[in-house]
């Protein structure tokens, strides 16, 4: 599978896109080969079953249908089709994997076309008239057991359900009609293809932005004037419904009714072409195009609409409002940011009435923001971070201005020895976001502690002042070299 990108406006068509792993039961065997045969390691088996949609199709798999659901328009020259977001879906199962349905008989006078290769999809889109005047199909109102849909036991056996009998949605059609409407085996294959398109300029939709789609087309054209029902059905193993070729005049048509597993259905009405009708072209051509606010009676030529406002004092007044979508370019207001809605209220000089457009914008933003808990938390975190950052900055400045102060009284060996550890502690506290305090550096507190005053220590313990110095700072008692910085443990003494 080449997975190249498609240019805008280009479309690439594929006969089929096979899934990497077909639906089946798988065994995963893990074994280890060792160079030493005496150390045997066992093999481990794991089983898993891969099962795609089979008897029901989630509506989310259907990306689009054409003609649109419940639309009315000139659809009588187009084959209805259904677009699947999962490109492999039609080829995940085979209609006739065992080749029960024979190839069509060669008609001698016609040259044979090139043979179709690849698998025959299990999906087909059937179109029926579903009008009050003529009803070709009945959608069963409730799910029914599969055994009542696939009545032939041989076919059921080939479905390999292992005795299960799931409930399925189904349609009921006259067998003779179905014989004429149902595609032949070859046609089922012709009706399915995969498309790769460019999705860069596309309206958003969840989950299908890879640009790959599978398309299932019907083989029948709508009849003008009546309502139709298109049904995506499963034809897996249905050799009682799918034949090598369509019926020829004179063939006896089967009688009775047949049921089919219904996967998706919608209705539309094919009407004669008319302007404003339901096709894309008709709708697009009938669009009323103009500038925002053009020709609207309630709106001034500047795009403002008069509203009645109940202001906070309770009086009602006429005010102007204009949304963000304007007919003419408007200069961007340079006076921001605004901190309250009232700041954005204006009075229009022509009418004297208030213009609340920007105030309303402010308020809707505030309400949207307040409604979102995570956003409010983010805003708080944003401010807190900024404040802390500012705090850290101030602390750093404070430290640098405090350090010389601490170091100034050279004789005070105690304070001198404390400079380095205290500075570190300050930075640590600032880094932890301690914020501001009166004695940020703690130097003053430390110095005022009685036990750290050498004079008092000397008096209390009957020491010389020099010994006290030495005890406190670890420095030489006499006038020696500058005392070394004590370690924090020494400080604790």
């Amino acid at each position: 599978m080449t997975d190249r990108n498609v240019a805008p406006g280009e479309m690439r068509l594929y006969d089929e896109v096979r899934p990497a792993l077909p639906n089946d039961l798988y065994r995963l065997r893990a074994s280890t080969t060792l160079s030493r045969p005496d150390l045997a390691v066992g093999t481990v088996d794991a089983y898993f079953s891969l099962e795609g949609p089979r008897f029901a199709l989630p509506a989310t798999e259907v990306v689009a249908v054409h003609p649109p659901r419940n639309a009315q328009g000139s659809f009588d020259e187009v084959f209805p089709h259904l677009v699947l977001g999962r490109r492999t879906l039609p080829w995940e199962r085979e209609l006739d994997p065992d080749g029960i349905i024979p190839p069509p008989l060669a008609e001698v006078p016609d040259p044979e076309p090139r043979p179709l290769t690849g698998g025959v999809p299990w999906l087909a889109l059937l179109l029926f008239v579903d009008d009050p005047t003529r009803q070709e199909v009945t959608v069963l109102p409730q799910p029914v057991p599969l055994s009542s849909v696939v009545t032939d036991p041989e076919i059921r056996a080939r479905l390999r359900l292992g005795g299960a009998d799931p409930q399925v949605e189904a349609i009921e059609v006259g067998a003779g009609l179905l014989r004429q409407v149902a595609p032949s085996k070859q046609e089922v294959q012709l009706c399915c293809h995969a498309r790769q398109v460019n999705v860069d300029d596309r309206e958003l939709a969840a989950g299908d932005s890879d640009g790959w789609f599978a398309v299932v087309m019907a083989n029948r054209l709508p009849t003008p004037g009546v309502r139709h029902r298109a049904c995506l059905v499963s034809l897996e193993q249905r050799s009682d419904v799918v034949f090598p070729a369509g019926p020829r005049p004179g063939d006896t048509l089967p009688s009775g009714t047949r049921r089919l597993v219904l996967l998706h259905t919608w209705t539309f009405t094919a009407a004669p072409a008319r302007p404003g009708g339901g096709s894309f072209r008709e709708l697009a051509e009938a669009l009323d195009s103009g500038l925002m606010g053009a020709g609207t009676p309630n709106v001034t030529d500047t795009g403002h609409r008069a509203l009645t406002l109940q202001d906070r004092s309770g009086t009602s007044q006429a005010v102007w409002y204009r949304g963000p979508l304007v007919a003419r370019p408007v200069a961007r207001d340079p006076l921001g940011p605004y901190h309250s809605a009232d700041q954005a209220r204006r009075v229009s000089p022509e009418t004297g009435a208030e213009d609340i457009s920007y105030a309303a914008a402010f308020e809707v933003g505030r309400l949207l923001g307040a409604a979102d808990g995570r956003l409010a938390q983010d805003l708080m975190a944003w401010r807190r971070e900024a404040y802390q950052e500012a705090g850290r900055r101030s602390v750093a400045e404070q430290v640098w201005s405090d350090v010389p102060v601490l170091a100034t009284p050279q004789e005070d060996a105690v304070a001198d020895g404390l400079v380095a550890p205290l500075s570190l502690a300050m930075f640590a506290r600032a880094g932890a976001g301690a914020g501001t305090s009166a004695d940020l550096t703690m130097a003053r507190t430390v110095r005022s502690a009685p036990g750290l005053d050498p004079g008092r220590l000397a008096a209390a313990w009957n020491l010389s002042v020099g010994d006290a110095h030495q005890l406190l700072s670890g420095a030489e008692p006499t006038d020696g070299p500058a005392p070394a910085a004590p370690t924090p443990e020494e400080n604790d003494r």
Binding site: L13, R248, L291, P337
Partner: protein, 325 residues
């Protein structure tokens, strides 16, 4: 009594002289990612209630398209409003005031990155374009929106394609599109994955036909249409004998006309049934509409690689005599 480190007067003075007290470049002062994304989306009106966009139903009647310029002051105020959440005092105001210029520039540069985020392609990252260009767009209220999901919208100015900033359904029948710049031409195109397949003719008494198309989807000129047979058991059912049609196409492609796609499978067959997607063009010179130039190519077939021809499209097909662009 401890000495206060800073006086109230001093704090106020500092606050006023240096509102942020930390520069916007500091890593700690950046708006968290979620809030940034929220604001970038809000700049493109994501989440704004519809009544605020269209205050009067007359502004956007049924089956209408309305073009507009985006009022950037309005979206700026909405952003201010969001940032007012939890703003209780002068400290928050000062902080917002200081951070606003950098934040505005960041949001301007994020606007073009929103759509890739919405499409799940890229994480939100500044684009480096902080010019904050004029934004314009259109609102479309039509059955087109509901009936043709994922329709394409493109805008040009002087033949340069404008960046699509937003293209999203606001409700089942209302679509909003925003472009970076003011276009002189806007195109609405039928989605390509929904390009229709069909036949022509089939009026009373007339047989259906299919026009031959070359492998790139262009209608052959001149061409002899292929006859299309309906199942003869009951022609009123209008069931087309697709296998017979393929036989005819295959015969001509193999024996008579090598310019037709070789009928290797369903993709080659589908080319013959293509109907060009409709493209509605709104421009300063008035409205023009024509089938759009879709380029078709065949992907590798199952059996062999079919011809992969890059070509110009169905335009010439539906518009006989027109030059290919």
């Amino acid at each position: 009594m401890r000495d206060p480190w800073i006086s109230e007067d001093g704090a106020l003075r500092e606050r006023m002289s240096d509102p942020a007290q930390a520069t916007a470049a500091d890593p700690g002062t950046r708006l968290p990612a979620y809030a940034t994304a929220f604001l970038a989306h809000l700049r493109l009106l994501v989440g704004v209630p519809f009544e605020y966009l269209v205050p009067d139903t007359e502004l956007l009647p049924d089956e209408s398209i309305r073009f507009f310029h985006l009022d950037r002051s309005w979206t700026d105020r909405a952003v201010d409003g969001v940032l007012a959440v939890g703003k209780v005092g002068s400290r928050e105001q000062a902080h917002h005031h200081a951070a606003a210029p950098a934040l505005d520039a960041l949001l301007d540069s994020l606007e073009p990155a929103v759509r890739p985020v919405q499409r799940g392609l890229l994480p939100l990252a500044p684009t480096g374009d902080t010019s904050g260009p004029e934004i314009s767009g259109f609102l479309l209220r039509s059955a087109l929106v509901a009936g043709w999901p994922h329709l394409d919208a493109r805008a040009w100015r002087e033949s340069v394609k404008l960046t699509l900033l937003r293209l999203e359904r606001l409700s089942a029948s209302v679509l909003i599109a925003l472009f970076a710049g003011v276009p002189d031409r806007v195109e609405l195109e039928e989605p390509h994955h929904g390009v229709q397949l069909g036949v022509t003719g089939g009026g009373p008494g007339a047989a259906f036909t299919v026009d031959p198309r070359t492998p790139d989807g262009v209608r052959q000129q001149p061409a002899v249409p292929f006859p299309v047979a309906v199942r003869a058991t009951d022609p009123s059912l209008r069931v087309v004998e697709l296998a017979d049609l393929r036989r005819i196409v295959s015969y001509r492609a193999d024996l008579d006309d090598p310019s037709l796609p070789v009928q290797t499978g369903s993709a080659a067959f589908t080319i013959q049934l293509l109907r060009p997607p409709w493209k509605e063009v709104f421009s300063d010179e008035g409205r023009a509409a024509r089938p759009g130039p879709v380029r078709v190519s065949l992907g590798p077939a199952v059996a062999e690689l079919a011809a992969e021809v890059d070509a110009d499209g169905l335009l010439a097909a539906a518009d006989p005599g027109a030059e290919r662009p």
